[in-house]
């Protein structure tokens, strides 16, 4: 019984910046409930690794060479709607938030706030919730969330 309480969620990290991947790794390290199961530095590898590793959560950058994070989210969501994608980006941009959620993302987080908000976002999305950076316009957040609930 107790074993299940210790069950870890497996997390895939996708970012073309090695230092961001190391930063995410270092944040997760402090929380035994999250296990880093793999890393990719581009969207196409993220799609491949999501097939191979079946992570519960993917933390992914948007701007990457080749397939970007939103396109990769769309591809992953199509085959594995149960996989939760959190986009971790530099861009505080309403339109990107909308596209991200339409592509199937469950979280939208700014890199500048990652240290404070990443674990909160992870906990939210594994509980089937959603997480959007509080820096995004509240009206955009509520319209994106109601659109998500309709689908």
């Amino acid at each position: 019984m107790a074993r299940w309480e210790w069950a870890m969620s497996r997390v895939l990290v996708v970012d073309d910046h090695a230092f961001i991947r190391r930063g995410v790794q270092s944040i997760l390290h402090a929380f035994p409930e999250w296990e880093l199961c793999g890393e990719a530095d581009n969207g196409a590898d993220a799609v491949r690794l999501s097939e191979a590793l079946k992570p519960e959560v993917i933390i992914m950058d948007i701007s990457m060479p080749g397939l970007n994070g939103i396109e990769a989210t769309r591809a992953i969501h199509k085959n594995h709607p149960e996989t939760k994608v959190i986009l971790l980006t530099l861009h505080d941009n309403d339109e990107l938030v909308r596209s991200a959620f339409r592509a199937g993302a469950r979280g939208y987080l700014l890199k500048i706030d990652a240290e404070k908000e990443l674990v909160q976002a992870l906990r939210e999305v594994v509980r089937e919730g959603a997480y959007i950076s509080p820096k995004i316009d509240p009206e955009v957040i509520s319209s994106v969330l109601s659109e998500m609930q309709r689908d």
Binding site: H17, A18, F19, R22, G23, S26, D41, I112, A114, E115
Partner: protein, 217 residues
Amino acid sequence: MLKILVADDHDIIRRGLKQLLSARTGWEICGEAKTGREALVLTEQFRPDIVILDVSMPDLNGLEAARRIHRMFPKIGILILTLHFSDMLVRDIVDAGARAYIMKSDTDRDLVAAVEALANRRTFFTARAADMLYNEHAQPGTSGSDPQAITRDRLTPREREIVQLLAEGKSSKEVAVALGISVKTAETHRANIMRKLELHSVSEVVRYAVKNQIIEV
């Protein structure tokens, strides 16, 4: 012990750098700064061997911070970290006194190699950056053909600093307070900048600052 100071406004990047660098024996992170100005203060306080500076930081950008650190402590090895590759920056980076340059997309190994190079008083530029530098030296005419690049060189470090503050939306009065100068001096600097760059409004200053990566939007 090799003492390293890390300056980046993103907590997660500082964390990543710390994770990578403190894993090496004999290396320690002696301080962390979130702005260029903080990097100056901590450099004076800790006297690190190496300072790693992100280019785009609020308050004082990484290049201006590099310039001042280099002027005060020429023996400190300065590594500049950028998000995007920019050929214009390579020359600026060298002029500012930095001797190593890597992009955030470079690998863990490049970072370690860059710090090792600086510790041994050598330089480190990735192949792309080195090519760019070589071309600039071989063909001095090419980099000078950009009119923005020519005019930019005429700005003093103080003026570049004021460009950043103006582009961040500060008034002359706020600039004066931030730099501890009189409002009149701040206004004179501002007028000189506008004249030198042939700009007529603050929004043009912002565009100039963005184009030349003095600030990030």
